[in-house]
């Protein structure tokens, strides 16, 4: 999403995805004394991906808190703090390590409000560097959106641009419930225009990032960029693809997806998580269950991660997740009526 079209009157600056997240955290720390950051090596080290950077120098070790290597306990401390009046932003070094903290995220944070009959709130934000492409193999490359998206009580977002990374983080902080933000590691260095100051990007809203009439491509995180690259290529062949940046996995933006498929009659879902039982299954199902079903003139196509852990070998690693040529070939076959 072009920030200038979103916020025409607002000043903006070119920032990397990581800088935009840091900017959001700095704004939050400045505006709200109850905001704290927690995580492993987020202090002098600046975070495993240099996202917190110099925040410890600006806000001190009382608010930028290095935890021991204790994901379950650390996440749980954040949940307890959120339950009692603080607004913690908890960074996992890699989303994979959230597996160690599933108990506190899934059994506690997600359910406390409900179990306590609405008498409690857990406004915690979990930041999770995620995805493959860095040669870090099976335990450092996973995409857990669907896992967490399966849990009522959690909200799950996946920004694809610096502007949304900032806006969604600030929205997550204002949200009264736990929010999980997946930050794709390959995006951290990507630059884009970012509005200055405080603003929020609504959770639960997808963005149409390219309009078209031939096919709808719903993509998330890094896949948005691959889908846009494919769409530019397809345009040269006279195929106008509409690209939707999903942005939010839970809640999912049914209306935007349905409206697009009604228009194009064709749907391709592109996501990095394992293909089966993933985000694409939900998108396919919501179309199959909606009025857009009648407008479909070809089978829905899902491009997702291979049914395998992420391999180390770089060629295998690339082959394990959708790449631009995969999107191109599936769309071409779809519009030619070959599927």
């Amino acid at each position: 999403m072009n920030a200038q079209t979103l916020f025409p009157e607002v000043q903006q600056r070119e920032m990397s995805f990581a800088e935009a997240i840091r900017d959001a955290m700095a704004i939050a720390l400045e505006r709200d004394p109850t905001v704290i950051l927690m995580g492993e090596d987020i202090g002098v080290y600046g975070g495993a991906f240099q996202v917190t950077g110099d925040l410890i120098e600006r806000f001190g070790a009382d608010r930028v808190i290095d935890t021991p290597i204790s994901e379950l306990g650390g996440a749980g401390v954040a949940v307890g703090a959120a339950l009692t009046g603080l607004k913690p932003i908890f960074e996992f070094q890699f989303s994979d390590f959230a597996a160690l903290a599933m108990e506190q995220i899934v059994n506690q944070a997600a359910k406390l409000r409900y179990m306590l009959g609405g008498e409690a709130a857990v406004p915690v934000v979990f930041r999770m560097p995620s995805g493959s492409g860095t040669g870090a193999a099976a335990q450092h490359s996973q995409s857990f959106e669907a896992w967490f998206g399966h849990v009522p009580g959690l909200k799950v977002v996946q920004p694809s641009t610096p502007a949304d990374a900032k806006g969604l983080l600030l929205a997550a902080l204002e949200d009264p419930d736990p929010v999980i933000i997946f930050e794709h590691k390959l995006l951290y260095k990507m630059k884009g225009p970012v509005p200055l100051g405080h603003y929020t990007t609504p959770i639960g809203k997808a963005a149409v990032v390219r309009e078209g009439s031939a096919v709808t491509i719903v993509a998330s995180a890094i896949m948005v960029h691959r889908a846009l690259e494919a769409a530019a290529e397809l345009a040269k062949e006279g195929i106008e693809a509409e690209v939707i940046d999903l942005r939010s996995v839970r809640p999912i933006d049914r209306a935007t997806i349905i409206a697009s498929v009604r228009k194009t009659g064709k749907l391709v879902c592109v996501y990095e998580g394992v293909r089966t039982l993933g985000v694409g299954a939900e998108i396919s199902a919501l179309i199959a269950e909606s009025e857009a079903f009648d407008y479909l003139d070809a089978p829905i196509q899902r491009l997702g991660g291979a049914e395998a852990p992420i391999p180390y070998n770089p060629d295998l690693e690339r082959a394990a997740v959708p790449q631009t040529p995969d999107i191109l070939s599936v769309v071409r076959r779809l519009v030619r009526g070959e599927v």
């Binding site: 492993e40 021991p68 290597i69 335990q139 391999p311 180390y312």
Partner: protein
């Protein structure tokens, strides 16, 4: 054996000269493997990241001195040294690093997952603390199947603050399982000092909570580590239960390839580098008449040649077929 054994350090009383020379060779192999890996990375031959154990060689090798292929180890993200100490072939290790089919994990695992289950190396681990309960499970197997093999569980100072550490030590203790927990305390978990992250002064103090012996040793002193291990392995084999050994050491390199060393001083690094555990062991070997300077040089040269040959083997090895992305996810159906 020499007269007046009291003044002779344990290792030089206990091991044969041949075993000691093999130990020196392994230490050199580890150092040279790490340097070879680093250089290959700089030259763009390998991708991803890596965690080098340069400076920690004595601890790894001394910890594995009394292990056979039947004994098991579990290792960490900083595991190259443990693999070599347990007897891994550097050619297959490099091949794994280069993502090749001939690597220990057929190119699927890379640096953080090198393993050789057949020789008792249950693998490095990308998850801090991930190997601790697995080691206890391996010890349970030995007990159930009536074998006398032991499991050595390597982990870092950072890992001792994971729940897995506490749960694993407790179970090993209540069931008196043959496992030796070796905490390589290199003072930092990434950038976080152990003195900040850990409530007790010595990690070995945590043994008290799990009713097992705990000892802190100079991890750069080959003999001190070997002696502590000897006691712990004997205890484990005798069915008396687990032990916790804290081995104090230091990593010379950054945590990984992206470390800017902002959390420690150059002086500190240089101070530790001036006390090289390999040179210290070499000097001791010469002092105790196990070898002479020329003999030590020859061992180092031989290790150098092995590393060079290993890199060549890795470079020339084939990559896995792209179509095999889902191979090894499950057992293959019998043809």
């Amino acid at each position: 054996m020499v007269e007046n054994q009291k003044n002779i350090p344990f290792a030089f009383r206990h091991f044969t000269p041949e075993a000691l020379r093999r130990a020196l060779r392994k230490m050199h192999l580890i150092r040279l493997f790490e340097e070879g890996a680093e250089e290959s990375y700089m030259r763009g031959l390998i991708h991803g990241t890596m965690h080098l154990s340069i400076g920690q060689e004595a601890s790894a090798v001394a910890s594995c001195m009394e292990l056979t292929d039947a004994d098991k180890i579990t290792s960490t993200h900083r595991g190259h040294g443990h693999c070599i100490a347990k007897g891994a072939d550097v050619g297959r290790m490099f091949a794994e690093f280069f993502g090749k089919e001939t690597g220990y994990c057929h190119g699927r695992g890379g640096s953080m997952h090198i393993a050789d289950v057949k020789t008792g190396n249950l693998g490095a681990n990308g998850i801090v603390g991930g190997g601790l309960p697995i080691a206890v499970g391996a010890a349970l197997t030995a007990r159930r199947l009536g074998r006398d093999d032991v499991t050595v569980c390597f982990f870092g100072d950072g890992a001792n603050n994971e729940g897995a550490f506490h749960e694993a030590l407790n179970m090993a203790a209540i069931w008196k399982l043959p496992v030796i927990f070796v905490c390589e305390n290199n003072r930092y978990g990434m950038s976080t000092p152990a003195t900040y992250a850990t409530a007790v002064k010595n990690i070995a103090d945590r043994a008290v909570a799990y009713a097992m012996p705990g000892i802190t040793v100079d991890g750069n002193d080959f003999s001190a580590v070997a002696e502590a291990m000897h006691t712990a392995v004997a205890r484990a084999r005798a069915g008396e239960g687990p032990s916790l050994i804290e081995s104090l050491t230091y990593r010379w390199r950054g945590h990984s390839k992206s470390d800017r060393n902002r959390y420690r001083s150059k002086d500190e690094i240089e101070d530790w580098m001036s006390r090289d555990p390999i040179m210290r062991f070499r000097t001791d070997l010469i002092a105790h008449g196990v070898l002479d300077a020329a003999g030590a040089e020859a061992i180092e040269a031989e290790a150098k040649a092995a590393v060079a040959a290993g890199i060549d083997f890795a470079r020339e090895s084939p990559s896995p077929a792209i179509t095999d992305v889902t191979k090894f996810v499950h057992a293959e159906a019998a043809a």
